[in-house]
Subunit: 115 residues, 2 copies
DNA sequence: AGATTAAATCAAAAAAAATTGATTAAATGA
DNA sequence: TCATTTAATCAATTTTTTTTGATTTAATCT
């Protein structure tokens, strides 16, 4: 029963952990990853187009978009009756490795490819 | 209804997505992140010690360890009646950003700090 | 104003994941 | 051999998440 690190200290990072839990929860769904992929490929996209692209009923898509939005992984902009969603490149980069850039990060504008 | 990218092509990366879904699912739990944190800090650790460290009933810990193991995020080594678990640094680096290294990646042996 | 469209919200049902306590399997030691 | 220890597994329950279809809200258009 060797414990070099005191229990108290070890329990401290729980604040961080709770925050990351919600980020990873948002990422932990194939449909949401697909939405992220499409937003990455297409850039700023209207919900009305996205329902067809990901082939999902409107209320279901809305539910998943909200989860990604609340986690800060995507951003939303409303124009009139339309809502446009975009990937939050900054947040994605904060969480994910370089190796995942081809799938979930927009292509670089300098023409270089990262994987 | 603008769709520059054909639907067929857009649906192709679903194979990748399903794989990442299970990785992120494994990460999407505060208790599992805590287990990962402790394994990162302590290195190779026996389950018998871990139950005290993370303050969890044995069967519960075993359940969460299995999820992390199946996702390839940790590795297991059995010696006699004991099981020792260790963080899989390679896999963690494959998924997570450099910024998350302090929490979920072992400290570098060259003494440099990454965040 | 009245009709139409886009998208969020709601409540109920279904599905998936986590917890619990007990049991099992395998290795160790007296 | 028999008792003990470690850790995985199991089945039942609880909790959480997702899905579904209907409703609501708000903006636009005639």
């Amino acid at each position: 029963m060797i414990k070099e690190i005191p229990l108290k200290q070890a329990n401290e990072p729980n604040v961080f952990l709770k925050e990351y839990e919600s980020k990873f929860k948002a990422l932990a769904d194939e449909k949401r990853l697909q939405i992220m992929y499409e937003l990455t490929q297409r850039g700023n996209t209207c919900v009305c187009d996205l329902t067809e692209i990901v082939d999902m009923p409107q209320s279901k898509l809305s539910y998943h978009l909200k989860i990604l939005l609340d986690a800060g992984i995507i951003t939303k902009e409303t124009r009139g009756t339309w809502s446009y969603y975009e990937i939050n490149q900054t947040e994605v980069s904060r969480i994910l490795s370089e190796q995942l850039c081809c799938i979930f990060k927009p292509a670089r504008n300098d023409g270089s490819d990262c994987c």
